[in-house]
Amino acid sequence: MKSFEPLTDSMFYIMASLTEPRHGYAVMSLVEETTEGAFVIGPASLYTIIKKLLKEQLIVLQDESDSRRKVYTLTDIGRQTLEADIVRRKVMIEMAEKGLKRGSV
């Protein structure tokens, strides 16, 4: 299935922010705050990815009453996709952590 392709880091951060309804600016600042500025999403990337997630029905437009601050949130497929990607990322991290532990003995 197409929707279970690995997510890029930017897609992952944006979807993680949209587990609750948020507008684009809020996504941008939440990611920046959480990562303490280590990961920033440029405006053109943010807009492109939001459009892409909408098209793939991973997120949905929830409130467009403020045309500058449209509010989006994850769909059920979006939640499943994010969960699948968390599992994929956990495997990567566990492998690296175990490897480092063994290597340091």
Binding site: Y25, V40, I41, G42, P43, T48, R68, R69, K70
Partner: protein
């Protein structure tokens, strides 16, 4: 109105970064981008400014404009001018780039290529059609089609090259 001058574009499909750097150099000398003009840009004289320029391609519906330009503004990018699907922004040096990842940057080139592809297809189609008419007709229709063929041929050359350039950039982006 202030003093203005014209700066030619090197062709966005070929040298987008070159155009943006040149705009920056002009801004440092006090010449600021005002709008797109006939295969180039119109600059207006003002104070020297230490800014960087970026361009994005996206055909916006009227109800998409507020959100799109709003996101750039919040991120520190001031909208300068728009022509059809091209939007130029400026920002202070050190501002987060408008594209922060390579996947969405590749999408940008694909969007740039859409109008280029349409023009290329029409012109090449016209060339083939008038080429056939030229071969199989006579008299006035033949004269008209010979004329059309050569006009289409002149436009088709740069159109095909521009379209090829968008493929080259996409391929290059995929490599790094």
């Amino acid at each position: 109105m202030g003093k203005t001058k014209y700066m030619m574009s090197a062709g966005l499909a070929f040298s987008e970064a070159g155009d943006m750097k040149k705009l920056r150099r002009e801004a440092l000398r006090g010449w600021h981008l005002k709008r797109f003009r006939c295969a180039g840009y119109e600059l207006e004289k003002g104070e020297s400014e230490d800014v960087i320029y970026s361009i994005d391609y996206r055909l916006l519906e009227p109800n998409e404009q507020d959100e799109y330009f709003g996101m750039f503004e919040i991120a520190g990018w001031t909208h300068v001018c728009t022509e059809y699907n091209m939007h130029i922004f400026k920002a202070d040096r050190g501002t987060v780039p408008i594209y922060s990842d390579s996947e969405s940057a590749r999408d940008k080139i694909r969007r740039l290529a859409i109008p280029v592809r349409t023009v290329t297809l029409y012109v090449v189609g016209l060339m083939v059609l008038s080429g056939l008419l030229m071969k199989f007709t006579s008299g006035v229709i033949q004269s008209v089609s010979i004329f059309t063929f050569y006009v289409a041929l002149i436009i088709a050359g740069p159109a095909v090259m521009t379209y090829a350039a968008t493929f080259y950039h996409r391929w290059k982006k995929r490599m790094n």
